[in-house]
């Protein structure tokens, strides 16, 4: 069989084998990896049997990188090179991170996203996140592949539902950099809902309130027989437990006159603040000592009343998005059947009380708030990998923020409104405003505000080569497409002239594709391996996957849906791809994959039509004529 010949050594492609896929919760504070094994989702533990990996990365001058518990334990020793909560910097500029309060890092401005200066060189948040993901990947490889469960086909990575395009793109790049095949980016509250809904066999309308270390999401979902339909989502991707820590630290600095600007002192103060915050969840007051680097020691005290008073504004900031999400979903609080609490920061009593008050009911806390997101991601990963479970899960998610274009006068014109179900595509027509105009500047923005300057800029590009016409005669169609990961691509073309001028962009956070390629090339996990070899390996895997998919489709439906010559054409394209994939030319393999895709288009369309028709079978067809 051509299939086995092109497989990587040691890699099996037997069609019915259980395909392993993991779910990864890449958290601000803690990260986890989980997988479905023998039918149940479980968190994969590290060699010390720990489920949570602290999202802390320490760089050393000799190039060593330490991630997790050890890095966390030493964060006060070497704060500038020990990065915590890097997720808050993903896809963010220097102006954004300045709002987080005092942090012991040396930030550097760079186009699109900040960089951090460390002893091991300047690092982007994508690099740093990739270090965390690499460790999780190793953990998964070890836990799964050791007992020949099969092969790791990919990962579902969770992101806050309110992450914008730049933050999502950055997360996906970090995963690529860590050598992970991303099956899907999944919204964290949706992942939690999967774990919750399947666990409790719930049906109805639920709100998922997820307050983690660095981000806040609220999603309203309808659960019905395995379908998880997100009705609306809202949140604040810069609000989490870290901000409560900052509030306490600022309070102590002010009231105790702590003026030290030493970075170690700054980190220690933040650590004491976090401990105090967590202690006040079960105690009414707390006390600790802060040892400053100059030898001085300061007694730190805080009561629960003081803490609640100084952070009430932060709690209120979570309620506004909840109200907005309910309004967008056209629901009143009484129509919500349950409020599911997710994220470590929802343990705080005043958060619990505020949510209970708003909804007029006690929130549901019967889940492990640290693990549900990873478990839900694992369940989704298992479905995507093709291991159909009886539950037959379907997720219908939405985009969190409106997508639009800049129009005259710096106004933002919405093209796709927030809370549209993905995948979604929408086109908008524009025209020229000057006689003979041959180019048009297109500026893509994301956000709810009227003025472009208040929205986030995603991409700028020019459509050139418009044939000269009088003002208003040209028809420029700008098409927005958002895929199932929530990622946008935009294309523009002039439609009257027949001259197809077309531009297509995938917005990113300022990193061009070749920069990513360069990062990939220099990344540690691929050191010594050159880019061409990597591309070849990737195309071979893709070729094997494509052949396997087409052969499975042929076995299932080939006899019924294909004429003899059609089938022969497909089979010969398979054989050709199999041959070419044995060679060394990744571009040729890519072309052969495209050719196979092309000859299977009609077959794919017929299969799809038939499955839709089957799904709707039993509905009357005679009364659907236009009256």
């Amino acid at each position: 069989m051509a299939l086995l010949q092109i497989a990587e050594p040691g890699e099996s492609t037997a069609p019915h084998q259980h395909r392993l896929a993991v779910g990864i919760d890449l958290g601000t504070t803690n990260s986890l990896v989980a997988a479905v094994r023998s039918g149940t989702a479980e968190v994969l533990r590290d060699q010390d049997n720990q489920p949570l990996l602290p999202s802390v990365v320490r760089y050393f001058a000799d190039g060593r990188v330490v991630v997790g518990h050890d890095a966390k334990a030493s964060q006060a020793e070497d704060p500038q090179n020990t990065i915590v909560s890097v997720k808050r910097f993903m896809g963010r500029g220097i102006a954004d991170v300045a709002k987080y309060g005092a942090l012991p890092y040396q930030f550097e401005d760079a186009s699109g996203m900040v960089r951090l200066k460390t002893v091991a060189g300047t690092k982007s948040p994508v690099d740093i996140s990739a270090e965390i993901l690499k460790v999780l990947k190793q953990q998964a490889d070890k836990a799964l592949l050791g007992n020949d469960d099969g092969e790791l086909v990919g990962a579902v990575i969770t992101v806050p539902a309110y992450f914008d395009d730049a933050q999502r793109q950055a997360t996906k790049d970090a995963a690529r950099l860590a050598g992970l095949n991303v099956l899907r980016l999944l919204n964290e509250p949706t992942a939690a809902a999967i774990a919750y809904g399947l666990d409790n066999r719930s049906e109805g309308t639920f709100a998922v309130f997820d307050l983690g270390g660095g981000t806040f999401d609220i999603s309203i979902l309808r659960l019905s027989r395995g379908v998880f339909e997100v009705l609306a989502t809202n949140g604040d991707s810069a609000l989490g437990g870290d901000d409560f820590d900052q509030a306490i630290a600022a309070h102590w600095r002010r009231t105790l006159g702590i003026a030290s600007t030493d970075q170690r002192d700054l980190r220690r103060l933040l650590m004491r603040a976090r401990e105090a915050k967590e202690a006040l969840t079960s105690n009414s007051s707390t006390e600790s000592d802060l040892a400053l680097s100059l030898g001085q020691s300061i007694k730190l005290k805080l009561s629960r009343e003081e803490f609640h008073a100084m952070t009430d504004a932060l709690v209120q900031r979570t309620l506004q998005p909840v109200k907005k999400a309910l309004r967008d979903a056209k629901l009143s609080v009484e129509e919500v059947d349950g409020v599911v609490m997710v994220g470590g920061a929802t343990r705080m009593p005043h958060v619990q009380a505020a949510v209970a008050k708003l909804f007029g009911r006690e929130p549901l806390n019967n889940l492990d708030p640290d693990k549900v997101v990873a478990l839900g991601a694992a369940i989704q990963a298992n479905t995507l990998a093709g291991n159909r479970s009886g539950d037959d899960l379907l997720l219908l998610d939405v985009i969190p923020l409106s997508l639009g274009l800049e129009t005259m006068g710096g106004l933002a014109e919405k093209v796709i409104p927030r809370n549209s179900t993905i995948p979604v595509a929408r086109a908008q027509e524009f025209t020229t405003y000057k006689d003979g105009q041959t180019a048009m500047a297109i500026h893509v923005v994301q956000g709810e505000r009227e003025l472009v300057k208040d929205c986030r800029s995603l991409a700028r590009f020019d459509l050139r080569g418009i044939p000269p016409m009088v003002a208003g005669a040209a028809r420029i169609q700008v098409m927005f497409q958002v895929d199932a990961d929530g990622l946008l691509s935009v294309s523009a073309r002039e439609t009257t002239s027949g001259v197809e001028t077309r531009v297509e962009v995938k917005p990113s956070y300022g990193l061009a594709d070749d920069e990513i390629a360069a990062m990939l090339k220099s990344s540690v996990s691929h050191a010594g391996e050159d880019a061409a070899a990597r591309a070849l390996a990737e195309e071979r895997v893709e070729a094997a996957r494509t052949i396997e998919a087409v052969e499975a489709a042929l076995r299932k439906d080939g006899d019924e849906l294909l004429a003899t010559d059609e089938r022969a054409a497909i089979e010969s394209a398979i054989a050709e791809l199999g041959e070419i994939a044995k060679g060394e030319q990744h571009r040729e393999i890519k072309d052969a994959i495209a050719r196979l895709a092309h000859v299977t288009e009609n077959f794919a369309a017929r299969r799809m039509d038939r499955s839709v028709a089957n799904a709707l079978r039993g509905r009357k067809l005679d009364d659907v004529k236009l009256s």
Binding site: Q320, L394, L396, P423, T546, A553, A604, R619, L626
Partner: protein, 177 residues
């Protein structure tokens, strides 16, 4: 090969082409079709099937969004009958309607100034009542060949009310924030 775009949104879900709609049946058909075509079902398929799934799922979402909303559904049915609602170009509205609009807008402004959330909620419910009345009218217009074209003006009025609703929501949001 593309999806058969000659099928209209109603036909896509095997529903009768008519303004009154069986919402539970629409929801159920939507889920049934998405279960078959959603890209999540094709994560391991060939590139051709993945592209097709993305196109189908996009189209199905668009059809569902259109049919679910009574305004979008009305506008779409008119379009199927070859009637353009001219919402961008035609701004000639009956005087009494315009006067009512102005009064409502003033009331929204007033409530904004005095930060009166209760008044804003009251305006929302008044607006809803007016919408309900217009949806009933639209249904009768769409069901009757003789007056179907009058549905254009009803759709334009409903669009005005939709915008008013967005303004009220904005105002409420600002008061909450």
């Amino acid at each position: 090969m593309q999806i058969d775009f000659s099928k209209n949104h109603f036909e896509l879900f095997h529903l009768p082409v008519a303004y009154p709609i069986d919402l539970p049946a629409l929801e159920q058909a939507y889920r049934e079709v998405q279960r078959e075509v959603h890209p999540d079902r094709f994560a391991n398929s060939s590139g051709a099937e993945q592209r097709l799934a993305a196109q189908w799922a996009t189209q199905v979402n668009e059809a569902y969004r259109t049919l679910k909303s009574p305004l979008a559904r009305g506008r779409y049915l008119l379009k199927l009958h070859g009637i353009d609602t001219e919402e961008e170009s035609n701004t000639a509205m009956p005087v009494d309607f315009l006067i009512q609009q102005m009064e409502w807008r003033e009331a929204v402004e007033g409530a904004k100034q005095s930060k009166d959330e209760v008044a804003l909620e009251r305006l929302t419910s008044q607006k809803r009542d007016e919408e309900k009345r217009l949806f009933v009218l639209l249904a009768s217009q769409l069901g009757d060949d003789a007056v179907r074209a009058d549905g254009r003006e009803t759709v334009r009025k409903l669009r005005f009310l939709e915008k008013l609703g967005e303004e009220i929501d904005d105002a409420i949001e600002r008061l909450e924030g």
